[in-house]
Structure formats: C-alpha cells, structure tokens
Amino acid sequence: MMLPYLWLIPALPFAGFLVLSVLGRRMGNGPAAAVGVGSVGLSALVAILVASSFINAPPPAHVYTQTLWRWISVGGFAPGVMLYLDSLSLIMVLVVTVVGFLIHLYSAEFMAADDGYSRFFAYMNLFVGSMLVLVLAGNLLFLYLGWEGVGLCSYLLIGFWYREPENGAAAIKAFVVTRVGDTALAIGLFLIFINLGTLDIQRMMNLAALHWRPGGALPTIAAALLLGGAIGKSAQLPLQTWLPDAMAGPTPVSALIHAATMVTAGVYLIARTNVLFTMAPAVQIAVAVIGAATLLVSGMSALVQHDIKRVLAYSTISQIGYMFVALGVGAWSAAIFHFMTHAFFKALLFLGAGAVIAGLGGEHDIFRMGGLRRQMPLAFWCFLAGACSLSALPLVTAGFYSKGLILSSAWEAGRAGFWLWAAAIAGALLTSIYTFRLVFIVFFGEAKAKISKKPGPRAAIPLVILAFLSVAGGFVNFPAFFGIKGSMFFSRFLASALPSATYAAPLPETDLLLEAVAAIVSLAGIYVAYFFFLSSPEYSREMAGTAIGKVLKRFWFEDWGFDWLYEKTLAAPYRWLARTNRNDAVDLFYSFIAKVNMFFHYGLSLSQTGKVRFYAAVIALGAVVTITIAVFAR
C-alpha cells in the first residue's frame, strides 16, 4: 500500500527547493541538477506507485484523504492542510510529475551554460511542489496556497533572466493580471465560507446542493467568482494578455508552466468544483462561450506571429479554450482528457522549439529559420509528432481523440450546441493552419542559418518520450463507435470523481460523421498551410499585402488590441495618479497649516525690533486704544 506516502509527492519537490535555495550557490551544476531533477523524478516515481496502488486496490469510494496538520482554526473556520486523492487528482498528479520530470531532465542540459543554474532548479522545484498542492488540495484555502504558489513561480521564472528589463515587465504583468483573477477567486472563497460554513471542497459541494437553489443568486455569484480565478490563471478572454509575454522566460519554463500544467489550473478548478457550475447554468454557458471566443481569437492571433514561442503561446490559449468549451457543456472528462494530451504535445512542441532556438543561438524569429529538417532530424520528427497531435491528425494522434470528444460533446449541447461546435471546428481549421505554417517555415524550404548545437541525450530522451505520448496518449480513450473492448477507458476511470457528461453522447453514427468532418478539416488545414507557406508563399504575401490583410494582420498580431486597451484605461491612469500624487496631496493641507503658523511667527517676530522708542510708542498706542474702548464701549 503506497497511499499513505501520498504526502511525499508534493513534499519531495519542496525539499528540493529548500536544499537548492539554501545551499544552491555553493553547489556545482552537477549536484544542483541531481537535486533539482532527482526530487521531481522521485516524486514521479512515488506518484506512479501511488497510482498503481490506487488502481489495483482502490480505497473506499475511490477517495483517499490525508490530513497533515490543522492549518488555521478560528471560530468554525478550520481549513486543514489536507490532501485529497481521487481519480481526477491522480491524473493531474501523474501528468504534473511525469511531464515535470521530463522537462526538468531536459532543462539540466538546456540551462547548463546559465549562471543561475541552481536558482533555476530551485524555482522549478518550488513550482512543481505548488502545482501538486493545487491539484491535491482537499479544501479551497489550501488549493489557493498552491494556486498563488504557482503564480509566484511563474513570475519568478518569466523574470528568470532578470537583467533584461522587458523580462521583468513581462513577469510583473503575468503576476498582476493573474492576481486580478485570484482576487475574484479569494472573494469567491469568502462568499462560500460565509454562506456554507466550510471550504472543504466535497462538503462545500454537498452543502451547496442541499441548501442552494439551482440557478439562484448565490451559486451563480460563487461560480462566477471562481470562473474569474480560472480565466486569469488559464489565460482566457479577457485576461489572456499575460501569456504571450510570459514567453520571455526560458523555454522549459514555457513548456512546463505556460503550456502543460499551470495554465490548465483553471480547467482543473472548474472540473473540481463541477457541482457549483452545474448549479449555475448561466455561468456554465459563459464558460463555454468564453472558451469558444478564446479559441477563435487566439487561433487567429497565432496565425500571424513571427516568434516561434508566441505562436505556441497563442496556440496554448486557444487549446485551453477547447477545454473550457468542454467544461461549459458539462463534458468534464473530455476537458481533462484534452488537458492530458495537450500537456504531452504542447510540452513536446515547446521543448522542440527550445532545441531549435538553442541550436540557432537564441533565434526566435521563424522567418530566419528554415530547412532545419535535415540539420536537426530528431528535433524535426519530434516536433512533427507534436504538430500532428496539435492539428488532430486523424486516428494516429492523441489530439485527434481528445479534440474529437470535445467536438462531439459540444454538438449535443442543446440549442447552443451547434454554434459551439461550429466555433470549435473553425478553430480546428485554424489550428492545423498555424501549426503547419510553423512546421513548413521552420523545417522546410531553404536553410537560412547554421545549427551550432544539437540536443544531447538529456534533451533527446524527453523529446522522444513525449513524442511517443503525443501519438499514443490518446489510445486510452477510444471513442465508442470503434466498438472495441476498453473504449472510453479514460472517461470511465474518471467517472468515480466526475459526474457523467451533462448531455448524452451522440449516436455512434452521428459521432462517426462528426469525427469524419473533424478529420477532413484537420487535413484541409494542413493542405492550406502547405499551399500558402510552402508551395506558393507568394499568395500569402499577396493576401497580407491587401488593405484588409494589413489591418487584420496588425490587429491579430497585437492580440486584438487588448493590451492597448488595458494600457490606456488602467495602467497609464494608475501610473499617472501615483506619479502626480507622489508627494501626497493630503499633506498639502498640513503643510498649509504649518505655513500659516510660520507666517504669524515671522510676522510677530518682526515686531521684536529691540528699539525702546518703538516699544514705548506701541505701548502708548495700545493704552490709548484700550482706554478709548473702555470709555466709549459701554
């Protein structure tokens, strides 16, 4: 029985962080990597053992909880430091530790030349620990600790190369924008505790179902506040602006935090508190609509970026949009399935991009790359596997199965279903186009630069493993119409933690048709990309040269003007106010009083002349005035 060792999973990375932050500067690169990679590796190992124990000998009700200590206890408010393991958190833990370990291993090589080597692993370990707290927390306050912890690490790692002011600005932006969402989440916790008297997630949901009227004001406000937290963390409209800038961090950070794990925390939060969202239909529809809008908006933005990492960043925002659509239509396990496959292929794409960037000496611009297929075959094939999975290439990729499940779930979702499906299928077309635009421009065509460095074994192993997972990771959830034994295994495994989908699955025939459409769209997108970016690039240049093309390109490139809007309406006025009021307007009032006093002080001291004749004259004058008043004023 491994379950009692559950606490070790988050504790090991935290221990690694402690060791590295105290002793790191005195360690060489070797020991620092050993601690940094080793702690997450051990954690992954424990997670796998716990998982096998959980599957082979399931605990009662498929739930295992472990209370480590009482955190706070004041007048009925008694959140504990409590871990909660069910099939949902188990999947999250496995993805976080395994993908986390692979990325750590990759980083050991990628960051080798950096002077902040041990600091990097300290932050990364802290991140993994916090992320594990987030997904294992049994109550919302402890979850909030992990939630803010991962936000902190995101800030620290985006700004890891602290010498560049732009990196610092990007890091601060990420922290502040997500904190806006976090504050909504915090207020949601206040509301939930004051009205239900607990922050324990399961008890909270039971009590809410018992005491709150579905569709009533309280569940709606509570769910909306949680959604606020989720869109901040998961970079959904309108709080998505921080994620593209977050690419300022080292590439493994983008892979781990800004693709595979942290940014999907919002998806996890909504899935975790699904009862609340089911009780607030208006909010749940909002989740789907936000997801659909985000996936389209970001998909278009991804189409015109030059920076390889920014393309992937917009793609991440867009893919999380798919997860939100799934959550919004109540297809909980579909969202988690797409989370998992996305973690594999997006981490792979980032790591592949990292190999390219490192090989070209830090080049990010895709138009200065090209023809890398021959020079970096390993990176190419791995990147291609990730790209196929992202584009949902039919049958052979994980992305096909997870995205297909979302598409067919959306189709069945009542009246809004068709429109959500239509948006998602349009998004699928965009996805294939921008993904293969990247593949064709970077790896095909003429070579524009020489590769100076190829990935060594510590970088290659994670690439290969992730490539395998990106292809085969979807086989755990074959759609039902295949009619084979073990279809929908993943969804059935999650059934003990998540309610079954709100809407019935489509008939096998319909499903087959929907999958076929998705497959055609995916292939069509690849062809479009081939046509415009490889075989006849002059057409794409021509299109971009037209008046509408120019405007759209600019608009999409600048992410639909969100940054501009926030700068003008929030950031600039706030800075202006702070700068103008630097000397504190309130203090003027007190200075004025002081000045008046000083005025009289100097005024009266002028009379102190030291001349006896002056004094005598004033005394006489005073006496005359006094007597006059005394005589006449009766």
Binding site: S21, R25, W69, R70, W71, I72, S73, V74, G75, F77, V81, L141, Y144, L145, E148, G149, L152, Y155, G159, Y162, R163, E164, P165, G168, A169, A171, I172, F175, V176, R179, V180, D182, T183, A186, I187, L189, F190, L191, F193, I194, Y574, R575, L577, A578, R579, T580, N581, R582, D584, V586, D587, F589, Y590
Partner: protein, 541 residues
Amino acid sequence: MELLWLIIAPFAGGVIAWLIDRIDGGDRRGLPARWVSLLALVFDLALLAAIWAGRHAGTGVGKYGAWFLQLKAGWIPEIGASFHLAMDGLSFLLVFLTVFLGIVSVAVSWNEIKDRVGFFHFNLLWCLAGVIGVFLALDLFLFYFFWEMMLVPMYFLIAVWGHERRRYAAMKFFIFTQLGGLVMLMAILGLYFIHGAQTGVYTFDYFSLIGTRMSAAAAFWLMLGFFTAFAVKLPAVPVHSWLPDAHTEAPTAGSVILAGLLLKTGAYGLLRFLVPLFPAASASFAPVAMAIGVAGILYGAILAFGQTDLKKLIADTSISHMGFILIGVFAWNSLALQGVVMQIICHAISTGMLFILAGALQERIHTRDMGLMGRLWEKVPVMGGVGMVFALASLGLPGLGNFVAEFLILLGAFKANPAMSVLAALGLIVSTVYALRMMQHVFHGEERRGWSLPDLSAREKGVAAAMIILIVWLGLFPQPVIDAASPALQGLEAIAGSQVKIISVAGLGRMTAPPAQASFYRTASGPLKSGALKGDKNERR
C-alpha cells in the same frame, strides 16, 4: 511583580547603558552600552518565557477570565489613578513582539549607530519600555502616561540619529501624535467625569469604566476622541502624513520600532479600549471606520507605487496594511479579530525586515533612491532573496504569515460588511503592483550605477534568517498564536457584546446599537465574563 520587572528592565537598562557609555568614553565604539541593552531585553525575554510556562500555575487563573497575571497598586489615590498592569494572551503576544523587535533593533544598530551610542540605547530602551507599558496598562491614566512616554525617546531617535530631513520629520511626528494624544486625554477625562458623576466613584480603572452609562451623543464624542488618537497612531487616512516622513528619516532601528510597535499601539488601543468602552457607539461608527480602512489600503498602495525613495515606499505600504487593521477591528468578529492580531505581528516582522534591508542598502551605497539602484541581485543575491521573501509577504502570498492575517480579516469583514470586504480585497492587486515594482527597481533590470557592495554580514544573515523562519512559521502554523490570543479576544467580544445586551434590556432605546448593526456582535457568544473581571478589582497578585 513580573509585570513590573518587564517594564523596569528596559528602563534601568537604558539608564545603565547611558551611564556606562559616559564613563567608558565611547572608546570601544559603545560596545558596553550595546551589550547592556541586549542583556536587559534578553532578561525580559526570559521573564516572558517564565510567565508563559507558568501561566496555568498562577493563583488567579480562571477567576480572572482571560487574564493570567495582574499587578495593582495604589498610585495617586486622590484622583483615583492606580498602577494597574495586567497581562492576557493578547498583551503577552504584543509584549513578546516588542522585546523581540527590541533585540532586532539593537542588532541592526550595531554598525549603523556610531555617534552617542549610550544615549541612543537609552532612548531605544525607554521607548520600548513605554510600549510595553501601553500593552500592559489597565488604568486609563497610566495608559496615557505610557502613551506619551514612548513619544519623547522616539522624537530623539529620529531627530538625532535620522537622515537628511530628520528635524522636520521628528517635529511632524511629535506634533501629530501629541495632538492625537491630547484629544484622547480629553476623552479619558470626559469618561472619568461622567462615570464619577454617575456613581460617585472617580476612577481611571478600565474595568470600572467599562459599561459606564451615558447618552448616545456623549458616547459617540468620547469614542471619537479615542479614535482620533488611535487613528493618528495607526495611521489612518487622512491623518497619515506624519508616517512616511518619520519612517523615512528615522535610523533603521527607529523605523523598525515605529512600523513594528508604535503603529501597533494604535491597533491595540482600538481592540482593548475603544470598542469595549464604547461598543454601541463604535458599532454605529463601524461603516465609516471601515470605509476609512479601505481608503487607507488603496491610498497607501497608490502612494507606495509612486515613490522613488525606497524607505518611503516601504513606509507607505504600512498605511495600506494598517487599513486592514481598521477593517478587522470594526468587523468585530472572531475571524477578523484573530486576523488583526496576526496582522499586527506579521506586519511588524515583514515591514521591519524590509526597513532593515533598506537600511543595510543605505549603509552600503549611501542612497535610498531606487532610480540609482537596479540589478543588485547580481551583487548581493542573499539580500535579493531576503527582499523577495518580504516583498512577497507584503503582497500577501499564501504560506507567509501576512496572508493568514489578511485572509482572516477579509473573511471576517465579509461576514460583517461584504461590500467593504470586496473593496478591501482590491488591496491584494495594488499591493502586488508596488511590491513587484520595488523588486524590479532595486534588484532586477538595468544596472544604473556600478555599485560594488558586500552582501549581508553574518549578523545580518542571522537576523534575516530568524525573520524568515518566523514569517513562514506564522504562515504555515499560525495556530499557537491564534490559541494564545483567542481567550483574550473572546473576553473582549464578551465585554462589548454583553453591554449591548444590557443596554437594550434597560430599554434605553437610543443607546442600543441599531438593528442594522446588531450583527456586529453576533459572534460575541458565551456567558458574560466581565462580571468576573469587575469582581476582582481589589485583588492583588
């Protein structure tokens, strides 16, 4: 007698430190004075440990309610002033904090203060003694005595050992707090005479004055008198403007004591005196006070964001954090009150440490201008790491003590007044902005001057390590502090809550807290405990 010793030790230590330095002639850079001061404070620490260990063994336990130690002696019987000290969990925590920060202050002055070392430590210790007195006094006359007593030494600390504009800052500090204190004195006298006229007993004793019957108008004005003094000290907007100057110009130890302790006497006054003495009046005043708190949180944060002077930035964040105290006190339920106690302690540690860092930087590069810093992480990574931890504490990161404090306050405030709580929660966003801007300007980004400076010394690292351990411990295991304060806070809630009941039973309609504010005391549960407190007025320990 232990309580008296707690106050006498720093008093005597201060005098000895001054004398010994005069005799010594300052040849050994004031080492004897420093050691004497340290010794006096360590003595206090030992005394506190003994008090805490033996708190169940005392004869008065149980009978006194939440108090576990008291000392009552005649002082000026003619006017009914007595020398009445007492300690409950709340006082204990605050006195402990005082002694701890006192030791830290002596440690951080070790190299910084080279001039008139004896007199410096005299002022330092007398100020600490005054603060301890404030936290222990249960006679309003005595309380006022200590309240004023901590001012003068602090004035000298700023005016003699401060920075460029020290005279201006010291004067401003003195005038503001002195005026606030005078208003409180008038309110104390007003309460004294109303109580005397009613009962024929003229006394300044806390327990006797509790429950004094008076018209709603009288209660309101007297409450406002106390509020003025405490609001100036806290400080609350708009009487905050002495703070940035005083904190900025004070020497490091002065800033630590100002931010860590002197501000907290205002918070303590609100908890111990204002609400228990005038429960109905403060209940009706609560929305205004909470609005002032919210204004302070946001205004202080905007001020901090605009600063270029590092110490001034840190000082302005105090205005913001003290806004939470005001909200918590006037939410007056156990969640918020526990949050207030946590905030008092955690803010003292986090802001104190930030001031220590700013002082350490100024000692090395002789400027506080953030425009001249930048990329210091490269040069002083340990300092940068410590700065990061406390910047994060300042923005309320979970896992550090300040989060527990602010979360409890906001949670309690949400119960009392959701709108105010939501507005105050915006403080979480604006604090992020100023804290990260500070880190960016000081430690990250471009190198603006080619400073070369040493990292923290072993002594400074020791202080920093102690502070980090404390703030993390408070963030992850705050329960011991909560348990220590809990009986005392329940006692305060019971005192305030019972009076509202008594008044309403007496049918004095206008004095009752209006129904809208009835929830103000909803959590004040349990039987009336103040009766037991009143009964043992003449007990002596």
